[in-house]
């Protein structure tokens, strides 16, 4: 196996469709034997939240209350219709045998995909480590992401 048989995905977007694509591609990379790392930043962190109410300051608590509490609450980037779109797409995906976002995330975990969370975004959003799922391996900065990406055959920004 080559030394750089690695894949690095930056997940900035927190839309259902973007997160769906990110976990699907990561599954494909890990299934192909690549050492796969997903770096979650800004809205992407919503895909890792564990359902806790978040925020310390008044504004942080407002942000926490308005954002999705966990992966099942992510809305699509189009046809959101105040949450109706999510219900509609979830049903259409389920009817067609497409895995849910939570199932895809678990598949990534089972295949050994590494989840890293961006420290700065967590500070801005007032998220603590314990507000994220335990499978998050580390809270890191951009240098860690760059180090991983510079050694990867595949680098994606989603």
């Amino acid at each position: 196996m080559e030394d750089n048989n690695k894949a690095t995905l930056v997940v900035l977007g927190g839309d259902m469709d973007k997160v769906f694509a990110a976990f699907t591609i990561a599954t494909g990379c890990a299934a192909a034997g690549m050492d796969t790392t997903m770096f979650f930043t800004f809205w992407g962190l919503n895909a890792l939240k564990n359902g806790n109410g978040t925020g310390d300051t008044m504004m942080g608590k407002m942000v926490g209350a308005m954002l999705p509490k966990d992966i099942s609450a992510l809305n699509p980037s189009k046809f959101s219709f105040g949450g109706m779109g999510r219900v509609m797409f979830s049903k259409m995906m389920k009817d067609k045998g497409v895995a849910s976002l939570a199932e895809l995330r678990q598949t990534c975990i089972d295949l050994g995909v590494h989840f890293l969370a961006c420290k700065t975004s967590m500070d801005v959003m007032e998220l603590r480590r314990e507000d994220l799922i335990p499978e998050v391996e580390a809270v890191v900065g951009v240098a860690k992401m760059v180090a991983e990406a510079s050694n990867s055959k595949i680098q994606l920004f989603i």
Binding site: T27, G28, A31, A32, G97, D110
Partner: protein
Amino acid sequence: MDIKVDKVQDSIGQMCPMPIAFMAKNMRTMEIGQVLEIEADDEGAHADIPAWCEQTGNEFLGEEDAGDFIRYYVKKTA
């Protein structure tokens, strides 16, 4: 197809990327030389399974039309 199969994976009704995810998981538990049969009806799997074999260095032995689904045979060689 006259192939001795060591393990059968039922991926009927599954869509991308699940047939490949389960194939990767199953192959990790198998020995070199063993054969995995994947039963799948997703059209995407038709291109995905040989592509996965090529990338991972495993051998794609072939496929067999079973009517509503296709049987794919993959030998662990890597």
